[in-house]
């Protein structure tokens, strides 16, 4: 027990000695990442947007009433950088593309759609998508807006025609209606005043800002492991052997070193949290789920989220234990952060990916961590068995590997 306590104390001392260097690496990496993101957004933003617009299929009879020309006009007028691409196609093709995840969704235009509208009917446009993703929600919002727009316009036009017929006997109500529609198109149907952009909730039931915060927090924990390379790459295998011979086996060694790793994470995490809070205040960035909480509730939330960070730390620790040498360790950490960050939805919401990948990502440790954070933000308080289970599993595996190596 004495060996364990002294070794833990010495590991903490060692970790604190390495902390300034590791914080410097962390800041440098963050600055480089921010610079990279800035450059990409400035230099490559336009080209990227042209390369990867959101594709929406349009199926049905498009030759009715200049509908195809209308779509083309709409396409050429679209001023947004995050561009939509409306593509006329057959329904079979659209369905196949949708299944492969190459299409965000498609609109089915009913037969005689335009003619039926002119006769006063309201045949519905059907939008088919893969799920309840952000794209589907956006389309629903747009559809709602379009329906109110059309209904209100109709009310206004018919109301104006009735007014002219009743009160202005010399005037032709239909010619007056045409003038009104033209004026409406020229002055009122102005894209800039037609819609506002609101952040819709992500499919997981939390705001996009909260989703982003959770993803970035997990990504930070995984990337922090790279900055901790000096702590892990300079461990002496001979010391591990001697400790093992003196009775401090793999389990004790791993527990001591993991404690030092966690202290470093807490120190860096506090630093980044404070910096993040300052920047959020400066740039007026708020997470609705957190804004509603008191300080104590936020602190409790942080404490409840801690096991997720510990679990990811334990995974990083295990990877360092598996890797041979500093370069291998850093590469493994980088791959881990990138793959898990991407697939689990820390970088992009998982709903951007095909369903199979979404399921796979949700089963990864980062995916489970993300789900846990989302549950906490939605008010969940029960401890997550999966997170604690994985934490223990990773540490036990690391201890077993250490024992095997030390006593081989």
């Amino acid at each position: 027990m004495r060996s364990f306590l002294v070794y833990t104390g010495l590991q903490l001392k060692r970790a604190l000695r390495l902390l300034p260097g590791m914080l410097a690496i962390c800041l440098l990496l963050t600055a480089l990442a921010a610079l990279g993101a800035l450059l990409v957004s400035r230099l490559g933003g336009d080209r990227e947007a042209e390369k990867s617009p959101v594709r929406i299929g349009v199926v049905g009879e498009l030759d009715q009433g200049y509908l195809r020309e209308g779509l083309q006009m709409l396409q050429s007028m679209d001023p947004s950088r995050f561009s939509l691409r409306l593509e006329p196609m057959a329904e079979d093709e659209a369905a196949a593309l949708l299944r492969r995840g190459e299409l965000a969704g498609y609109v089915r235009v009913p037969e005689d759609f335009v003619e039926r509208w002119t006769l006063g009917e309201h045949p519905p446009l059907i939008y088919l998508s893969r799920g309840d993703g952000v794209g589907a929600r956006l389309v629903r919002e747009i559809a709602d807006t379009a329906v109110s727009l059309v209904l209100e316009t109709e009310n206004a036009v018919y109301g104006a025609q009735n007014f002219v017929a009743d009160r202005m006997p010399g005037e032709n109500p239909y010619a007056m209606g045409d003038r009104l529609v033209l004026r409406y198109a020229l002055r009122i149907l102005d894209r800039e005043r037609l819609y506002g952009i609101e952040m819709v909730e992500t499919p997981e039931g939390i705001s996009l800002a909260a989703q982003l915060l959770c993803g970035l927090a997990l990504l930070f924990v995984m990337l922090w492991a790279i900055c901790c390379a000096p702590l892990f790459s300079r461990r002496s295998r001979e010391l591990q052997r001697v400790l093992s011979a003196r009775g401090l086996r793999g389990g004790g060694q791993v527990a001591s070193e993991f404690a030092a790793f966690v202290v470093l994470l807490l120190a860096a995490g506090t630093f980044v949290l404070l910096l993040g809070a300052l920047l959020a205040r400066r740039f007026d960035f708020a997470v609705p789920e957190l804004a509603a909480l008191s300080r104590t509730a936020r602190l409790l939330l942080l404490l409840r989220a801690l096991p997720v960070a510990l679990m990811l730390c334990a995974l990083s620790f295990l990877l360092y234990e598996l890797a041979q040498g500093a370069v291998g360790g850093v590469l493994l950490q980088f791959l881990n952060a990138l793959l898990q960050g991407y697939l689990a939805g820390c970088l992009l919401p998982a709903s951007f990916f095909p369903e199979k990948l979404q399921r796979f990502g949700a089963g990864l440790p980062a995916g489970l961590g993300l789900a846990r954070l989302r549950a906490l933000l939605q008010g969940g308080t029960e401890p997550s068995v999966a997170v604690w289970g994985l934490l223990l599993l990773f540490l036990l595996l690391a201890a077993a590997i250490r024992d095997r190596r030390s006593r081989a």
């Binding site: 010391l239 052997r241 011979a245 009775g247």
Partner: protein
């Protein structure tokens, strides 16, 4: 007191490195274990130190099997591996704190073995900045915290300069004179000259060897399969 190593077997994957290594030694002596590279000298020392597990065999000390009685082994046996079993970022004093009780450490620094090893000279220097000789002295200092009766050393003065070698060999000589048993894996003529018995490890088995101090004979014998 007598130490007996009896029928030690150790395998790495499918390769049997030690297949029945046995010998005897008494306290107050120094046994040199010779053998070509890769014959299993370091493995034998690791097994005796409890840092590696043997498939079978015994390490008897006063009739007690130290491979089974780990508490007694920790008290009796000290092991200094070939590499550096130190925490590089911490000072020599911090490294010693891992193995010594605080009051024992101060006593040993003031008038005990650590003073003999000259550890006081670099007590507050970070281990990573110490010279090879200082590191080795510190490693030995860490190993002997429990005043062991048996000292296992794996090429203790390899790559050290003459003064460095001399300091460590003088210490080992003193340890032996004080009644300690030294088991040392080595090729070095200086180290071997300190020993009063030698064992050659060949084909996983130990055989008594008559070391004469002649380098050419030793070279030829080491190369003989």
């Amino acid at each position: 007191m007598e130490a007996e190593i009896r029928n030690i077997h150790k395998k790495y994957a499918r390769k049997e490195v030690l297949c029945g290594a046995s010998f005897r030694a008494v306290s107050g002596s120094c046994v040199g274990i010779l053998g070509a590279n890769g014959t299993g000298k370091s493995t034998l020392l690791r097994v005796l130190a409890g840092a590696a597990r043997a498939e079978r065999g015994e390490f008897l000390w006063d009739g007690e099997d130290l491979l089974k009685n780990s508490a007694l082994r920790r008290k009796t046996v000290a092991y200094v591996p070939q590499g550096t079993p130190l925490i590089e970022e911490l000072s020599a004093r911090d490294n010693l704190r891992l193995w010594y009780e605080p009051e024992v450490l101060e006593r040993s620094l003031a008038e005990g073995m650590l003073r003999e090893l000259g550890v006081n000279e670099f007590l507050n220097t970070v281990a990573g900045r110490l010279s090879g000789g200082m590191r080795k002295r510190l490693s030995i200092g860490c190993a002997i915290a429990r005043e062991p009766a048996i000292l296992l050393l794996d090429e203790p003065t390899a790559a050290l300069d003459m003064p460095g070698k001399d300091r460590i060999l003088r210490y080992l000589d003193g340890f032996q004179r004080a009644g300690g048993l030294v088991l040392m894996a080595s090729h070095d003529p200086w180290e071997l000259a300190l020993c009063d018995a030698w064992q050659m490890l060949r084909g996983g088995v130990l055989e008594p060897y008559a070391y004469t101090g002649d380098r050419e004979t030793l070279m030829r014998d080491l190369e003989t399969p």
